[in-house]
């Protein structure tokens, strides 16, 4: 008989006391054994499902056929409902009791977090890079122009391209410190928090074993993360909240992390390790890791920390959401016996980094989660800081010290790893200040160097240059909105909507002009209700969400492997949205521009600034001038030029 977690006995006693009544009720309600096929759930979950079903049936009967029931049947139905309420109450009591089980002697203690002043500044970092660059004999790229710097910084930090006005103010400023001032300004902006939140939302989303986004609540995760980044909460606190989260995702967006793993210990273990430590220990789930020192036992000892947390649909009358809670009566975590697959072997939780001791089997779920969170974010766990720094570096330089960025070893080969170690150790000692880390990297010459093709011989050269990479879905979405003056966030789902219902009749024969008109109308309507933008952000059907299903990319994918797709190209080439944005008509960006600007060169400059945040090169001017001449129709020619800019490689790249 396996040991059970505390409170289990208490709970079981309560339930067992009602068992005869329950059995009768189950028979009464004709509850079937459909839940019995979920092998993962413990026996208690089956009982709970049966009782729940009986209660639901009883409720339906009382509601619809009350008159037909005998008093005895009515009493039985009521008893079934009461039994379910009592069960829920028992689960809640056990869940609440889990919170108070703090005083378990076998739990390790952790030293309080120390915060020292950072010693690695931008100049020091440049020095380190310069040394490694000269050792690699790599030619160093020049520092970028103000225009290029602005576009890169806005995309990397604010997640969008600069507006014409922002670009003008920055480029014309004579302030010598204008770059670092812009860095500070953007790091303090709401856009930075939103951009970072979307990045980390995607980190979770693209690997989630839970395939149903409605059970995870990504918009709430994004909102929660935005709040944390806006408050510049240190990374260890954010991580701790994500690992130990409970409650429903609408009340606590951090719960989405566990819900994305379906609250399954092995999935939690794999993702916590990958996301927060850059270690792919989940490979050791079935066998000892082939190329890293991790053993199968270590994986399961780690996974044992996450036992006891469970997910369920929230039990209230509000909108259907999901929540994490401590499930009482769950057996100890055990791993499959490789010798005899019908057996399993109980496992005691133990962290695999450093010389951690086993954690007592009697610790409650909350205590175990709090303990593993403390182990992970501890200032003597180098993997934790390095994983974050490597991601930030990769997003700002176009390549990480380790690639793929979430597979850092041990036993993996990286580039200039000693620089990562130095920077990460300093960041760790100084208390995981996220904005601080960005500030140091963004102010380096290394960050501000011109980009170079990654695959060329001189490309991969210990960060002697920046590397171009493809924009994430959110960035492209905002870039289109900004370049073409389209309020895309306010389109109420019209963006990439299937619209099958309407399609049969009207839209089938609609011309592009009619479609553009309909779109215009919806934009005008949206413009009248600016507050709609805020609510739509929480909507899974929001245009941004739909756009991301087409353009989104797992941010853990190496940049070289992020390739475009045919539907993306089709969208940029032919979609009514883009078409509406590139045509020169009344009240369109291009229409207004052509009307107010007779000089073709000035129009071309404006378009380049608007779309690519820079002036055209002499070569580009020549190509366009010849094109305008050949086409012989100014409006058509500039529509084609604008179309080409929006469809260009540069538009969907950061460089």
């Amino acid at each position: 008989m396996s040991t059970r977690f505390p409170n289990a006995r208490n709970w079981r006693t309560r339930v067992l006391a009602t068992v005869p009544a329950l059995l009768a009720l189950c028979i009464f309600a004709g509850a079937t054994s459909s839940a019995a096929d979920d092998e993962k759930s413990p026996a208690d979950a089956k009982t709970e499902a049966k009782i729940k079903k009986a209660a639901a049936k009883a409720r339906a009967l009382l509601k619809n056929k009350k008159g037909d029931l005998t008093p005895e049947q009515r009493a039985k139905a009521q008893a079934a409902i009461d039994a379910f309420r009592e069960l829920q109450a028992a689960v809640d009591r056990a869940d609440a009791a889990d919170a108070k089980s703090g005083a378990v002697s076998s739990l390790p203690t952790f030293p309080p977090k120390k915060v020292e002043s950072p010693t690695v500044d931008s100049a020091k970092l440049d020095e380190l890079i310069a040394k490694s660059v000269s050792e690699a004999k790599a030619p160093t790229s020049p520092i970028v122009s103000d225009e290029e710097f602005a576009r890169r910084l806005y995309l990397d930090v604010a997640g969008r391209i600069p507006t014409l006005e922002e670009l003008r103010v920055f480029v014309t400023s004579k302030d010598k410190a204008k770059r670092s001032k812009l860095i500070d300004k953007l790091l303090a902006s709401e856009d930075f928090a939103a951009n970072l939140a979307r990045y980390w939302r995607d980190v979770v989303f693209y690997r989630a074993p839970n395939p149903n986004p409605n059970q995870v609540g990504y918009p709430y995760l994004e909102k929660w993360l935005t709040e944390q980044f806006a408050a510049n909460k240190p990374w260890d606190e954010i991580t701790r909240d994500l690992i130990t989260a409970r409650g429903s995702y609408d009340e606590n967006g951090a719960s989405a992390f566990g819900l994305a793993q379906m609250a399954q210990p092995v999935e939690m273990a794999g993702e916590v390790s990958r996301v927060f430590m850059g270690i792919q220990i989940q490979c050791a789930q079935c066998h000892d890791h082939p190329s890293a020192p991790w053993k199968r036992d270590q994986f399961h000892e780690f996974a044992a920390f996450f036992q006891g947390i469970a997910s369920r649909a929230k039990r209230d009358n509000g909108p259907r959401t999901f929540e994490l809670y401590s499930r009482p009566g769950v057996a100890r975590y055990s791993k499959p016996d490789l010798e005899d697959p019908s057996k399993s072997i109980p496992v005691t939780p133990k962290f695999f980094v450093g010389d951690a001791k086993p954690v007592g089997d009697n610790a409650g779920t909350r205590d175990r989660l709090a303990t593993i969170a403390s182990y992970i974010v501890a200032q003597d766990n180098p993997y934790f800081a390095q994983a974050f720094v490597n991601r930030v570096w990769a997003s700002l330089l176009g390549q990480g010290f380790f690639n793929p960025i979430d597979d850092m070893g041990p036993g993996r080969e990286g580039e200039s790893v000693e620089i990562l170690e130095t920077l990460a150790a300093d960041w760790q000692k100084s208390g995981y200040d996220i904005r601080g880390l960005y500030r140091v990297v963004l102010n380096t010459k290394t960050y501000q160097r011109a980009s170079r093709s990654t695959n060329s011989a001189a490309g991969r050269t210990a960060f002697a240059a920046n590397c171009p990479s493809r924009l994430r879905g959110d960035q492209i979405f905002d870039a289109i909105a900004s370049a073409l003056d389209l309020p895309l966030d306010n389109l109420n789902g019209r963006m990439v909507r299937d619209g099958a219902a309407k399609a049969k009749g009207k839209a089938k024969s609609a011309t592009p002009e009619q479609n553009a008109k309909a779109l215009e109308k919806s934009i005008a309507q949206a413009a009248k209700k600016p507050e709609a933008a805020k609510t739509v952000a929480m909507n899974l059907n929001a245009p941004r969400t739909r756009f991301n299903t087409m353009f989104g990319v797992d941010p853990s994918t190496p940049p070289d492997e992020v390739l475009g797709t045919i539907p993306q190209a089709l969208f940029l080439m032919n979609s009514p949205i883009v078409n509406r944005g590139v045509i020169a008509a009344r009240n369109t960006m291009l229409g207004d521009l052509l009307e107010s600007t007779p000089d073709n060169r000035a129009v071309l400059d404006s378009l380049y600034y608007k779309v690519l945040s820079r002036r055209p090169t002499a070569k580009e001017v020549a190509v366009c001038a010849r094109y305008v001449e050949e086409v012989g129709n100014r409006k058509e020619a500039f529509e084609d030029i604008l179309w080409s800019l929006v469809n260009s490689t540069e538009f969907i790249s950061r460089h």
Binding site: S453, P468, R470, A503, K508, G564, T565, I566, S648
Partner: protein, 429 residues
């Protein structure tokens, strides 16, 4: 490597009338009748698709009830009101409501002993599409993407895998976007955004300008590799937009009688589209139909669904057969699991992965047989249990794909196309 496959959401603003579409591309006036053109294309389909094999999956989303489809149990408590009907194979009875299938059962093999453990829709669908349970470590490719990667010819200018009917697509996963199924939400309309908003000559002119600007700008300023990749995708996309083969997506040229036989509904027309695509050289097509999650009113709801599926399935088999395509086209009817033998108080059946059924035809499958059986009360597999991996291994066998081939995951872990499993005994002639 060429990238030809993808999936796309649908946009109702993206559709121009079919006539407009053909005119835009300058094909309507080219003197090639649309049907004639497809026939022309079909001649080349075999050369286009390596090893000559294709697969059409009719996916019954929600989990079809085995007792109301191909494993009826008339006269038993669990069997409920469903009757059994005779087919053109003596000894093989199927559920009432599926009369349209009766004349083709000599070409169909029914497996009545499918067995699995996963009772959650999404997880079970993942498993039945990929052969693996979902995990955060690896995104396993669906069988359609595997077939696309293994058999699709890179020079073919339409997607190798297509998913018709919307809903979640089990995509290419670790195989990469190149093998993502291309999503067609509504078979009655052309796929989204395939129609340029400007006439073909101007579209081509634009593409020329785009290439020149890409090379003059970013291409000579640090973005050389990115531009090359981008141009490769654009070349292929433009190739598809301008390809005469895109007419395969247009089912309006099909004979009215045949269209009616498939059924005047999205699923029936989707099956017809599937045949057209396979004929043109597409390797894998899935046609989805939802509504099978019959927790209540199971009997009436399945009867209605059968009225949609049976004529389409039957016509598809006959259509492929009469065109000489059935031997090289594997047709599979399946869902993510079966339903509880016991009828619940709402007249429904709940999730039941322990016993369910699958029907297959073509692609070398020996028709007119039943493989495996369920116990009299339907609660257990009586003989020859078949697992998801066995089924996928059999798909591989039919399509001449090596199921033991290993693909590398992004972190360098080798993943077999199918892990374990063996070809279902007796399924193939």
């Amino acid at each position: 490597m060429e990238k030809t496959i993808v999936k796309v959401g649908m946009n109702h603003e993206g559709v121009v009338s079919r006539r407009g579409f053909v005119q835009t591309l300058g094909l309507g006036a080219a003197g090639v009748a649309v049907g004639g053109f497809t026939d022309l294309m079909a001649v080349h389909a075999d050369e286009i698709r390596k090893k000559n094999m294709a697969c059409i999956v009719l996916w019954m989303a929600g989990g079809p009830s085995q007792m109301e489809t191909f494993d009826p149990k008339p006269g038993t408590g669990n069997g409920g009101e469903t009757k059994a009907i005779q087919t053109n194979v003596s000894g093989i009875e199927i559920a009432g409501g599926w009369e349209a299938m009766a004349p083709v059962m000599d070409k169909v093999a029914v497996i009545r002993s499918m067995s699995n453990k996963e009772g959650n829709h999404q997880r079970a669908s993942y498993q039945m599409h990929t052969g693996y349970a979902p995990t955060s470590t690896v995104k396993h490719p669906g069988f359609g993407s595997i077939a696309a990667a293994e058999l699709g010819d890179p020079k073919f200018d339409l997607p190798h895998a297509v998913s018709i009917g919307g809903g979640p697509v089990f995509g290419a996963g670790m195989l990469g976007v190149a093998y993502e199924p291309f999503l067609v939400a509504d078979p009655l309309r052309l796929p989204e955004n395939v129609t340029p908003p400007v006439a073909a000559p101007r579209f081509s002119r634009r593409l020329g300008l785009l290439n020149r600007l890409d090379q003059a700008g970013f291409g000579s300023n640090g973005g050389y590799d990115r531009v090359l990749e981008h141009q490769s995708i654009y070349r292929q996309t433009a190739g598809m937009v301008l390809s005469p083969r895109i007419n395969a997506f247009d089912i309006e040229s099909e004979d009215a009688k045949l269209r009616a036989a498939y059924g005047q509904n999205a699923f029936g027309q989707g099956c017809l589209l599937a045949r057209r695509l396979v004929e043109t050289g597409v390797t894998f097509v899935e046609v989805r139909l939802g509504g099978w999650d019959t927790h209540d009113d199971n009997f009436n709801r399945v009867k209605k669904l059968a009225g949609t599926v049976a004529p389409a399935f039957s016509t598809l088999i006959q259509d492929l057969s009469s065109r000489g395509m059935l031997d090289r086209t594997l047709v599979v009817w399946m869902g993510e699991f079966g339903r509880t033998p016991k009828i619940n108080p709402k007249g429904g059946r709940d999730h039941f992965p322990r016993v369910f059924n699958v029907a297959l035809a073509g692609g070398g499958v020996k028709g007119g047989q039943v493989i495996g059986s369920s116990s009299a009360d339907g609660t257990e597999v009586k003989e020859n249990p078949v697992a998801a991996t066995d089924l996928l291994t059999s798909f591989c066998h039919s399509m001449k794909i090596d199921p033991k081939k290993e693909n590398m995951s992004p972190i360098g872990r080798p993943i077999k196309i199918v892990d374990g499993g063996s070809v279902v005994k007796g399924l193939f002639a």
